[in-house]
């Protein structure tokens, strides 16, 4: 009976150790994954921020204006002082 108990506790000890070892590896894997993911998301955020600000910049507006030929010569003419009525 005593021998069975010893074997039983030994088994529990080994099983507990194996469990904690495997759990440790799993947790380490998870931490590794989270570390990589958070780094990736941070980099992605920076990249997206860069794209968003580029589109919002005056430089981009100027380049788009130039590509659409919206220059001084091609600027719209506003009718400030109408000589004749246009409401036909």
């Amino acid at each position: 009976m005593k021998k069975i108990l010893i074997y039983f506790f030994l088994f529990l000890l080994i099983a507990g150790n194996v469990y904690s070892f495997v759990s440790g590896i799993e947790l380490a894997n998870e931490i590794g994954t989270f570390e990589t993911e958070s780094k990736r998301i941070h980099q992605e955020n920076i990249e997206l921020e860069k794209k968003a600000t580029t589109i919002n910049s005056l430089q981009y507006a100027a380049s788009i204006a130039a590509s659409l030929d919206f220059v001084k010569q091609a600027a719209p003419i506003y009718l400030n002082n109408l000589t004749y009525a246009l409401n036909r």
């Binding site: 380490a28 980099q43 990249e47 860069k50 005056l58």
Partner: protein, 552 residues
């Protein structure tokens, strides 16, 4: 018993194998990277602070950047590798080949690789190369505010350091504090829980929110560029500020530089002429002298001066700019026609001591304390070495060396009720948990509101009834003064080379902005009234529309 011996023998062999393997790893092939993989102690670099304009539009951000490295021992053909990399990096095959030193385990090949280049290199699936992550500055508005912002360079140990402008002045705030990671890892890089696991998070750099308005900056730069081309000037600056707080709303000087490729420019391009260059102000200095004389009750605006002709001071003869004289004129008219002889008269009324002290009161000869790196103090001679001619010429802005920002500050005090303020560019500093607002700082009060009102009227009259009639925005009253200063070369003035400037404010009754325009050596005309002044009115017109100021 035999079974036990076999088991012992088995364990002995197993132990020997482990010892042998450890000997191989730790002694025979003790790569630094392997020992480093066990206990990782690494510095965690903080993110450098960002810079925004007053409406929180970004001027400077960070972007992903990579260091491309090679492990030459793992490379089979460095010629082939160099050739493939050069197709993407365009660094030169021979340069890359030289960098891949086969006697080393690790060599850096190229820094500042962007995301797109990294993806292209990864697609090549080359062996023996890798990337190390880092960050570099990104400028969404390119060099819209190059002199103002400065740039980030590298220290000898590859750290970031700010040079010039805001990057230089606020380097300690922007760079933040690094953190540290101490972590025991297995060979696959996973943390070992029973080992050391310590992390001190970095403190990211503080963000700067500027008083600069991106639109004002853009208007100033665009107009300055056009003006410099039109008048063929060598250099030009436009500074716009709020005269009551001296918040700098726009500061542009040309030629400037590309902050991302700063290494392609020489140091002379990095200096911000608004704060680092000195010049003789010329007639733009006259309103300060008049304001002081009125403040000290030495003259009144309607006092009459008899402008008969040139004045002789010692061996020197002082004339008006066009050598024309109007006889009896008022003090206001002296400013309107920018009469040098009239100014000498005002100077005489003030006295030598008061004239010298006036310059000190306005802060000439000392830095303004603006929060930008590289400010110089200008130059005023010691009083002992002043001759009578110096006291005469200084009344119309010759014989002293000032910076544009000093002129802007002094002129602001003339129209803001006599407050000498500290000019500033950063309106607030934001850290992870708090934001600190920067308040205007009145250094001293040297004049009264009454004097300011008088001077505003006189300067408005100068614009309205000056010698030159400019195309001004209709329906608005503005004040201002031109200045054409000759450039001293080897003790003499070169009459063909001038610095043309105009300082003006609008609307005249309660100015929303004050703008200083300076053009160095304009070729189209040497006179400020034909170069800097029209440029000022073009800028002012756009600013009035931008600020939505209705005509009177």
């Amino acid at each position: 018993m035999t079974k036990v011996k076999i088991l012992l023998f088995f364990f002995l062999i197993l132990n020997l194998a482990i010892i042998g393997k450890l000997f191989c790893i730790q002694v025979l092939h003790s790569y630094p990277s392997i020992s480093g993989d066990y206990l990782k102690t690494k510095k965690i670099y903080p993110e450098r602070g960002r810079i925004y304009d007053r409406s929180k539009h970004p001027f400077v951000l960070n972007q992903n950047s990579y260091l491309l490295f090679a492990e030459p021992k793992k490379i089979s053909s460095k010629i082939e590798l160099s050739s493939k990399l050069d197709e993407i990096l365009h660094m030169g095959e021979s340069t890359l080949e030289v960098r891949i030193d086969e006697s080393k385990y690790w060599v850096a090949l190229a820094n500042g690789i962007n995301e797109e280049e990294k993806d292209k290199i990864n697609n090549l699936k080359l062996k023996g190369i890798g990337f190390e992550y880092g960050m570099k500055r990104y400028y969404p508005e390119a060099s819209l505010a190059a002199h103002l912002l400065g740039f980030v360079g590298k220290t000898s140990d590859s750290g970031d350091i700010g040079y010039f402008g805001l990057e230089g002045y606020y380097d300690k705030d922007l760079k933040g504090l690094p953190g540290i990671l101490e972590s025991e890892r297995d060979l696959l890089g996973r943390p070992i829980f029973i080992g050391t696991q310590e992390i001190v998070n970095p403190e990211n750099g503080r963000d700067l929110i500027l008083c600069i308005d991106k639109s004002v900056q853009e208007i100033s730069k665009r107009k300055l560029k056009e003006g410099m081309e039109r008048y063929q000037a060598k250099q030009g600056c436009v500074i716009t500020a709020d005269p009551y707080t001296l918040q700098i709303l726009g500061m542009v000087c040309l030629p400037d530089f590309d902050m991302e490729k700063y290494y392609e420019f020489t140091e002379e391009y990095f200096k911000n002429p608004s704060i680092s260059d000195v010049y003789e102000p010329g007639s733009i200095f006259k309103p300060m002298v008049v304001a002081e004389a009125i403040q000290e009750k030495k003259i009144k605006p309607d006092d009459i001066y008899n402008e008969e002709g040139p004045i002789q001071v010692g061996e020197y003869r002082i004339m008006t700019w066009n050598n024309q004289y109007e006889g009896k004129i008022s003090i206001t008219r002296i400013l309107e026609k920018s009469s040098n002889v009239g100014m000498v008269y005002i100077g005489e009324r003030m006295g030598e001591k008061a004239l010298y002290e006036m310059m000190k009161k306005y802060g000439f000869g000392e830095p303004t304390g603006i929060d930008l790196q590289g400010e110089v103090s200008g130059y005023i001679k010691e009083r002992e070495s002043w001759y009578p001619i110096d006291y005469a010429t200084v009344t119309f802005g010759q014989g002293i060396a000032v910076t544009p920002i000093q002129i802007l500050r002094a002129f602001s005090s003339v129209i803001n009720g006599g407050m000498i303020l500290r000019p500033y560019v950063v309106c607030s500093i934001r850290s992870q948990d708090k934001q600190r607002e920067v308040k205007p700082k009145v250094e001293r009060i040297i004049g009264s509101k009454t004097t300011s009102e008088i001077l505003k009227k006189m300067l408005t009259s100068t614009v309205e009834h000056g010698e030159f009639q400019w195309v001004k925005p209709k329906g608005y009253t503005m004040g201002g003064k031109t200045g054409t200063a000759q450039i001293p070369i080897k003790g003499h003035y070169d009459p063909t080379k001038t610095i043309a400037s105009f300082i003006g404010f609008a609307p005249a009754d309660k100015p929303k902005f004050i703008t200083l325009v300076i053009l160095r050596e304009p070729q189209a005309s040497q006179w400020a009234s034909e170069t800097a002044a029209p440029l000022f009115f073009e800028i002012a017109k756009e600013l009035l529309v931008y600020y939505n100021i209705a005509p009177e």
